[in-house]
């Protein structure tokens, strides 16, 4: 069942640009980009119980590193650009995560919220580097001799990177590191008594989460082709949190589904911008009341990670 579904799903995703109009190809790229963020956020919040309302900040750092790097050094292959965007964002994640080690719950949420504002302010004020509020037109990404200019080409880039990152996340959560993160969420004293170094794993979760979000930010820059600070406001951070709550805290498949739901809803509700927060709020409340485990808790057994 699992194998068959994976095979059919992969075939569909590979043929997708030949089956649907261009706009849906673009939209699917956004779903995958958001899914990478949701997985990163879930590793931090769902697995390690560290709430973040600042992931739009990490997303922005990744997007701007990728954009500025491509502008200044057009010869760098896109894969290297994305890795660098991820690593730079991971460093920022460490810089935020280490001082946040003593914070929990609401206090951590406040600190990360503030971080999101700081990043937007920084982008606006470092205009020699980021062009401030004018935004940056992101040059076409290059992979060797290939110019990834069409929506389909960008889609395959996003899909390839996304597949690697999903696979890595599934591996992490099935092995020692993932269990250590879950142990911290479940009981800090029992985790310590089992030899888990709390500070090290909490910091690692921050860095990995930021890495994922930074790579996704870089992909986002290439997919949309233009970035400006107003795209990374606090509401984007809230959208990311909504993805993992609706999808399921502590679930990789849930992260992907949650990202798809929110991204598609966002798109369908484009004409009703003003009602979006209201509707998302209602969905979140409904989800917490009636489906606290998120969509992941209602998915069939074979989609869950094998134990």
């Amino acid at each position: 069942m699992r194998r068959a579904a994976l095979g059919a799903g992969s075939a569909l995703l590979l043929l997708w640009p030949f089956l649907v109009p261009r706009y849906f190809v673009f939209l699917t790229s956004l779903v995958v980009v958001n899914a990478i963020v949701a997985i990163g956020l879930n590793l931090l919040s769902g697995y390690t119980n560290q709430l973040s309302f600042g992931h739009a900040g990490f997303f922005a750092v990744g997007a701007y590193v990728a954009a500025v790097l491509t502008l200044r050094a057009p010869g760098v292959p896109v894969v290297a650009t994305l890795v660098l965007a991820g690593l730079a964002t991971a460093l920022v994640g460490l810089a935020l995560g280490i001082p946040c080690l003593r914070l929990e719950g609401l206090y951590l949420a406040m600190a990360t919220l503030a971080f999101g504002f700081v990043v937007v302010e920084a982008i606006q004020n470092l205009d020699w580097l980021t062009r401030g509020n004018d935004g940056v037109a992101v040059p076409t990404a290059h992979l060797g001799p290939l110019a990834l200019a069409s929506d389909a080409a960008k889609y395959y880039l996003v899909l390839g990177v996304g597949a690697l990152m999903v696979a890595a996340a599934v591996n992490i959560t099935r092995t020692r590191t993932g269990r250590a993160l879950l142990a911290i969420r479940e009981s800090e004293i029992a985790a310590q008594a089992s030899g888990v170094h709390l500070a090290a794993y909490r910091t690692l979760a921050f860095a990995v989460s930021a890495f994922y979000t930074g790579v996704a930010g870089g992909l986002f820059a290439f997919v949309v082709g233009f970035i400006s600070p107003d795209a990374f406001d606090v509401f984007l951070s809230v959208d990311f949190v909504a993805m993992i709550i609706i999808g399921g805290l502590g679930s990789i498949p849930g992260s992907v589904v949650g990202a798809a739901v929110i991204t598609l809803l966002y798109d369908w509700l484009a004409a009703f911008q003003n009602y979006r927060p209201l509707l998302f709020g209602l969905i979140l409340i409904g989800c917490m009341l009636f489906m606290p485990g998120g969509i992941a808790s209602r998915m069939p057994k074979w989609t869950q990670q094998a134990q």
């Binding site: 696979a167 890595a168 996340a169 591996n171 992490i172 099935r174 092995t175 020692r176 590191t177 993932g178 269990r179 250590a180 879950l182 142990a183 479940e186 009981s187 004293i189 029992a190 985790a191 310590q192 008594a193 089992s194 030899g195 888990v196 170094h197 709390l198 690692l204 990995v208 502590g250 134990q307």
Partner: protein, 253 residues
């Protein structure tokens, strides 16, 4: 093996332990008993690094434990269970035991993310070992069950399996018989004896259940209000008038 010297700690001006000393020898089953609030669990929390005492020393195989963080103490070979159980509630019993083995597994973050063959080999071996431990504490059929949904007695046994997964030298059991029926307590006593006899573990146990204490302990220390009022073999302390007054006496009243 474990030596506790002049240990004192107070919480908000209230002395929880006063100049407590005792020494646990290798391969010994050593019991700490005393009425509620006598400071027994506090001793565990100091030995495992959760509390810092205001005075005194704790040494394990000659090394000062007070200088070490809790996870380092665990890695030195000290594993514990908890009085009110601290299982990882939303995880399966199998994952609970696998986390107990954390310090002995080598797959780091990157090797885990890449899913190298060596990682899966290690993982498969760890899973087999964890299943064997679950079987040993009578939870063979519960490997996929959420730990939080188990009855209290099963959670206590799960904690023992999790502690054993770390292959400790010293096992600290905090009221392992709490919530168990007499048959379960008998099984538990055989398990603890087996750990010492077959695997050479040293066991320090805090317990209210007199049958267990009298049945398996080599030596017993009796605490009351944070002070040692008696020590010796189970037979000796059972005959000590101070113990009868402080503990056994109060229970009959």
């Amino acid at each position: 093996m474990l030596s506790v010297e002049d240990l004192s700690i107070s919480f908000g001006g209230l002395a929880a332990l006063g100049a407590l000393s005792f020494e646990v020898a290798e391969r010994e089953i050593f019991a700490l008993i005393g009425p509620n609030g006598a400071g027994k669990s506090t001793v565990f929390n100091i030995v495992t690094g959760l509390y810092r005492p205001s005075a005194g020393r704790v040494r394990f195989r000659g090394e000062d434990l007070l200088a070490l963080a809790p996870h380092r103490i665990a890695r030195r070979g000290i594993a514990r269970t908890f009085q009110n159980t601290e299982v990882f509630r939303q995880l399966t019993t199998l994952d609970n035991v696998l986390i107990g083995r954390h310090a002995l597994l080598r797959a780091g973050f990157l090797r885990g993310a890449l899913g190298l063959p060596a990682v899966w080999r290690e993982e498969a071996a760890a899973r087999a070992g964890a299943r064997a431990l679950l079987a040993r504490v009578g939870l063979a059929d519960a490997a996929g069950v959420q730990a939080g949904s188990l009855p209290l007695g099963a959670q206590k046994r799960l904690e023992i399996a999790r502690a054993l997964a770390a292959e400790p030298k010293l096992l600290l059991l905090d009221e392992p018989a709490g919530g168990l029926n007499p048959t379960e307590t008998q099984t538990l006593m055989e398990l603890i004896r087996g750990l010492r006899d077959a695997e050479g573990l040293t066991v320090l146990v805090v317990e209210h259940d007199m049958e267990l204490v009298m049945g398996i302990s080599d030596r017993v220390v009796v605490l009351n209000y944070g002070r040692k009022i008696s020590s010796g073999s189970p037979r000796e302390i059972a005959a000590d008038p101070a113990v009868i007054e402080a503990y056994l006496g109060s229970e009959e009243a």
